[in-house]
């Protein structure tokens, strides 16, 4: 063996083997050579290492005490006082320990990254490397390794490498280096020095000072403009300060509710704009000469009937003619013959297309936000290991008020204790009796909740039938006005009451059920609430399509349905207000004054979000029948934001249950999309495609289906201009045919399958890499042990 006997790692050059590369099979040979290396240092080490080798093979031997303790209990990790300080110093300068704190190490790491980025290959070609037997050392080129250079040299090296990158990559690299700002300024100066040298070398004369050199890069100029735009956008964001206040007091979980509300507002704004511009405003400009409206009493705001029946609010007001037709026979009494003729406007077509386009846009936006949300929150292999993630990511730095910080500490403590208790109970095997008991309780709870859902649905069904009969009787007898209005309001009242009361009952049920995991509790509560709302809404849709609506006008069933939906939306808002009032304000007063507890009521995020989703679904269901419903929903959401915020600040505290904000946001936006938006879209599609509109009112009088207006238009186009056959072909084969739908679904399914396979492959790779790291860890432990023993022997001898 030829190399210098020193403990600093040097790969021994094996010159005795005729220039042939030692194969990985001769690992044993390399270990032995390393072994002999140590032997040259001290004679005693050999004996202890042989004993160590035997210990690794499983025999029980007497090894020196310190080594035994550390070898057999590697996870204790306590610093043994017997470890010599030089040894500890060497350990402390291991790369894995310095990368976080030493500037030099960071610069070297980024140097390597820059080189890799430049070469675009992670493995240097094998021919250029030293031939070593150990594959993991094959790529470790000791000569060009900057880890041994001085700090200034490392900086120069990094600066040189950065210059060879593209400007955007360079600025990104500068931005993401985890150095202090002063260091980055120095690095930047170094870069400009190198840049100047390079430019002088290329013999171009530029007259700028060193520190201003980069201002002339166009990408950095664009970046400045981009920053300016961004800062303007940031300042223009609505409710920016309010949301910061809420986050600062209650944390990200409660903030997610308000962000969801903001998103819903955006969706409504889009529907509102499309419908207003293309449908409502047009009809408002050309009002029909209809019957005189009924007098306005205040009750209309609640029932939507009376004065509002023949107004822009409902379907029945819109005409089935072309507006502003020149020389047309439509009774446009208000236009004088002197006004300039403008383009004719086909109202039925506009109506059906606006509804279609607003739904399409909402769908695209929903899918896009779902994609973004999913992208942020899904991680491969994230199911393994709860506690480490919980401990490292639990602290929300946004929370700044002292009381909220204290509350957050308590919450984290409770959640950790619960997780630990859950783990202990899981590891403890339960007796068969207890398991059976637990299963029975679960089964009973689910039967009860599904039973209540069924009960509610049957009750709503019979109530609506009953109300319909009462309405018929009342109209035949021509009863009082107030009674008539009261009849209209009964069904919405009962449905909203059920939606408000049942979630509290489910919460009580969950208390009795006592699920093990707190996360499961949240999911089960959401599930039950969801099933109730979905089934009730489904039943109502069915009733509406069967024309069993409690109505004030006989002729126009669409206006009736529109009015019914109006009443539902208004009732929903009233009940949300009442729920906030009683559930939060009154409950807090009771807790404080009567029960003298310091706790405030918790803000139940899941229940509130599901209420928002329910309200939004009502709007989507009603767009065809009442085009101004998105405007109402917008107003409602705005009011709700301020009311909920005030109530939150005064009366509530943040929830104690564990809440992964990004994960739950994804769940909520998926819920918004899948059962609710899809259901509304199916209902609307069925209405437009298959239901016969009423004969005497609305824009589709006399047609078979609402969609017929579109078909007629295409036929008219075809007749007027025979050259655009491609348009009719598109219409026939892509819109009327169901084949494209199946094709698109097929493509979507293929994409999903592909992604699943990619994720599976990534999981396998993660597993393999973990095994590899485990092996390297074993090597590390072996080397640390050897190091310890060497220094110990040295100290013993000294």
């Amino acid at each position: 063996m030829s190399q210098l006997p020193s403990v600093s790692l040097r790969v021994p050059e094996d010159t005795n083997n005729d220039g042939q590369e030692p194969s990985p099979d001769s690992e044993g040979a390399l270990h032995t050579s390393f072994h002999q290396l140590i032997q040259e240092q001290s004679s005693l080490v050999e004996a202890s290492l042989e004993l160590e080798m035997q210990a690794r093979n499983g025999e029980r031997v007497a090894v020196p005490d310190a080594c035994a303790v550390t070898w057999l209990e590697p996870r204790q990790g306590r610093q043994h006082p017997s470890y010599p300080s030089t040894c500890l110093q060497i350990l402390a300068s291991m790369p894995s320990r310095t990368i976080g704190r030493s500037r030099g190490a960071i610069i070297s790491q980024y140097y390597t990254r820059t080189v890799r980025l430049r070469c675009r290959s992670s493995r240097p070609p094998l021919q250029q490397l030293r031939h070593t037997a150990r594959p993991s050392l094959r790529q470790h080129d000791l000569e060009t390794d900057p880890a041994t250079a001085k700090l200034e040299d490392k900086r120069t090296l990094l600066a040189k490498e950065l210059l060879s990158l593209s400007p955007s990559q360079r600025s990104h690299m500068l931005l993401t280096v985890p150095l202090s700002l002063a260091e980055k300024c120095t690095l930047r100066q170094e870069l400009s020095v190198q840049w100047n040298l390079k430019r002088l070398y290329v013999q171009r004369r530029a007259s700028f000072s060193a520190s201003r050199g980069f201002k002339h890069f166009p990408v950095l100029g664009c970046r400045g403009l981009w920053y300016r735009i961004l800062s303007l956008l940031a300042a223009a964001q609505p409710w920016h300060y309010t949301l910061k206040q809420i986050g600062g007091r209650f944390g990200s979980s409660v903030l997610s509710y308000f962000l969801f509300l903001k998103n819903l507002l955006m969706f409504n704004i889009i529907s509102f704009l499309i419908l207003t511009v293309f449908v409502v405003a047009m009809q408002a400009a050309y009002p029909p000469a209809s019957a005189s409206p009924q007098p306005f009493t205040g009750l209309e705001l609640l029932t939507g009937a009376g004065y509002f029946t023949h107004s822009l609010l409902y379907y029945g007001y819109y005409r089935n003619a072309t507006l502003n037709e020149p020389c047309g026979s439509s009774p446009n009494g208000s236009t004088s013959p002197l006004t300039a003729p403008s383009l004719p406007y086909n109202m039925p077509l506009a109506y059906v297309f606006s509804v279609g386009v607003s739904f399409l846009l909402t769908c695209i936006l929903l899918v896009y936000s779902m994609h973004c949300s999913f992208f942020e929150s899904y991680r491969v292999g994230s199911s393994a290991g709860d506690l480490a993630v919980k401990v490292f990511c639990a602290w929300d730095f946004k929370v700044i008020q002292r009381r909220s910080v204290k509350l957050q500490c308590e919450n984290i403590c409770t959640q950790l204790k619960e997780l630990l208790a859950e783990q202990r109970s899981r590891s403890r095997s339960r007796s068969l009796c207890r398991q059976l008991g637990h299963c029975t309780v679960l089964l009973l709870a689910w039967t009860l909740s599904l039973g209540t859902v069924l009960g509610c649905v049957v009750a709503v069904h019979y109530l609506s039938e009953h109300m319909h009969m009462v309405q018929q009787d009342h109209r035949a007898q021509d009863g009082g006005k107030w009674q008539q209005e009261a009849i209209l309001l009964v069904l919405p009242f009962v449905v909203s009451l059920l939606n408000a009361v049942m979630p509290h009952i489910y919460n009580l049920l969950a208390l009795w059920e006592k699920q093990d995991s707190p996360v499961a509790r949240v999911y089960v509560a959401i599930c039950r609430n969801l099933i109730l709302k979905m089934v009730v809404l489904g039943l109502l849709c069915y009733q509406w399509l069967r024309r069993r609506v409690v109505c004030s006008t006989e002729e126009c069933w669409e206006t009736c349905v529109g009015q019914e939906l109006y009443r539902f939306v208004v009732m929903d808002f009233i009940f949300t207000l009442l729920d906030t009032l009683f559930g939060e304000l009154v409950w807090r007063l009771i807790l404080e004054k009567k029960l003298k507890r310091k706790q405030k009521p918790e803000f139940d995020i899941a229940r509130n979000v599901l209420e928002l989703i329910y309200g939004q679904t009502l709007t989507w269901l009603g767009i065809v029948f009442a085009p101004l419903l998105p405007a109402m929903q917008m107003l409602k959401l705005l009011l709700l934001f301020y009311i909920k915020k005030t109530s939150l600040m005064q009366n509530c505290q943040s929830p104690r249950k564990p809440w992964q904000a990004s994960h739950m946001s994804t769940v909520f936006i998926t819920l918004l999309c899948f059962p609710f938006f899809l259901g509304a879209a199916i209902f609307i599609s069925y209405t437009i495609w298959s239901v016969r509109p009423s004969e005497t009112c609305g824009p589709f009088q006399g047609m078979e289906t609402m969609y017929e207006s579109g078909k007629t238009w295409v036929q008219v186009l075809e007749k007027s201009n025979p050259n655009i056959t491609w348009f009719t072909w598109v219409h026939q084969h892509l819109v009327e045919n169901t084949f494209p739908l199946f094709f698109v679904s097929g493509v979507l399914l293929a994409a999903i399958y592909f992604n699943i396979q990619v994720v599976r492959g990534q999981r396998k790779i993660i597993h393999l890499l973990k095994e590899q790291i485990d092996n390297e860890g074993e090597d590390k432990r072996f080397l640390i042990q050897t190091l310890h023993s060497v220094y110990e022997q040295r100290e013993r001898r000294a």
């Binding site: 993401t176 985890p178 800062s231 991680r379 730095f397 994960h663």
Partner: protein, 190 residues
């Protein structure tokens, strides 16, 4: 804002904007808040003076934070090791805690904040101190020793991939990458 903008030189503003994740508005706001921490006489030369730690900790964003001392220690570049911060250190801190900072940078600095004994790894003592910071100062809201033992054992089992009894930076970053909430909770906005 007009007043403070004239005190911060324009090219410095541009340089800071390029080297940090903050926007111009945020840098100017930071400058304003930083000068308010200094006594009136020293406000002219805000860029080069150092603010003592006690003053920094009066900021409402840091006042009640259990990691306040660690944050000051990690971001301070003072040679006297007294955890005082200059304006550039303050900007550094805000940049790392800002909205647009990458997950890499955040996890890097989070590691340094959690490394209480500054030895480059998170060993048992660091983890114990971290959990105590998280659960608060009150006696009733601390974990007892059995629970602490169980917790630390679980954390090491889940995150210590090379099984050396400590968590180094790469292992920490691997754990953080599994938690999508980290970027939004590791945020301080002025």
């Amino acid at each position: 804002m007009g007043g403070s903008a004239s005190l911060l030189p324009r090219d410095l503003l541009g340089e800071y904007q390029e080297l940090t994740f903050l926007s111009k508005q945020e840098i100017l706001l930071a400058y304003k808040r930083f000068s308010e921490l200094l006594p009136k006489e020293e406000r002219e030369i805000s860029c080069s003076t150092r603010v003592p730690k006690s003053q920094i900790l009066t900021l409402p964003e840091l006042r009640a934070n259990p990691f306040q001392h660690q944050i000051c220690r990690v971001f301070s570049t003072s040679e006297a090791r007294d955890d005082s911060m200059s304006f550039e250190d303050f900007l550094d801190m805000l940049s790392v805690f800002s909205d647009s900072a990458t997950l890499d940078i955040k996890s890097h600095y989070a590691f340094r904040i959690f490394d209480f004994d500054e030895d480059g790894v998170l060993d048992r003592n660091d983890l114990e101190k971290l959990v105590n910071c998280l659960t608060g100062q009150g006696e009733e809201s601390r974990l007892n020793s059995t629970e602490m033992e169980q917790l630390i054992r679980n954390i090491l089992e889940e995150s210590d991939i090379d099984k050396d009894g400590t968590i180094n930076l790469s292992e920490f970053q691997h754990v953080i990458s599994r938690c999508p909430d980290f970027a939004s909770s590791f945020k301080i906005v002025l």
